[in-house]
């Protein structure tokens, strides 16, 4: 059994080493979607023409995706957190009242 774990460890180690070595540089290949998401800046009028900054008014495109375009996901995440905390409360409330 230990030999299997050792072989799995070596394979995983080589995989992580190789994937860290073969990783692409940032911005390579250039993304076609950056202008779609963040928007296009008009330098003559000084305003954003379309995109996330124009639609939501937030400078951080990640937050405008998380809270605006995919707001349902954040609501579901809040529901998961609420359910987990309600479970912990239900588990430990009785110990406190005794």
């Amino acid at each position: 059994m230990k030999k299997i774990f050792f072989i799995a460890f070596v394979v995983f180690f080589i995989f992580m080493f190789y994937s860290a070595y073969e990783i692409r540089d940032f911005g390579n290949p250039p993304s076609q979607m950056d202008d779609r998401i963040i928007g296009k800046y008009n330098s003559t009028t000084g305003e954003w023409e379309y995109g996330a900054v124009n639609e939501t008014g937030a400078n951080n495109a990640v937050t405008s995706v998380v809270f605006d375009y995919r707001g349902y996901d954040t609501l579901g995440e809040a529901t998961v957190l609420f359910t987990a905390i309600a479970g912990v409360m239900m588990l430990f409330r009785r110990v406190k009242n005794e």
Binding site: A20, Y21, I23, V62
Partner: protein, 86 residues
Amino acid sequence: MIEISLFEIALILMSVFMIASAIIAVWFKDLLASVITLAVMSLILSLYFYVLQAPDVAIAEAGVGAALTTAILIITVRATERMEED
């Protein structure tokens, strides 16, 4: 001679340290030291996220993984046994 950049050296070093701390966390018999080693692994993972240009995930990992999980596990270790039985 393969050419290797500083970025890849940083990534490889962080991968090696992460795997080493995870294995040490399994190998220790003292559970408190094991929890601290998990916190070290979480901190290096947060650094990894920061180097890969995801600062949102890095802040969340440093807050939840390195602080809150460690606190909850240390509370649990203090309430139960500290040494692992063979």
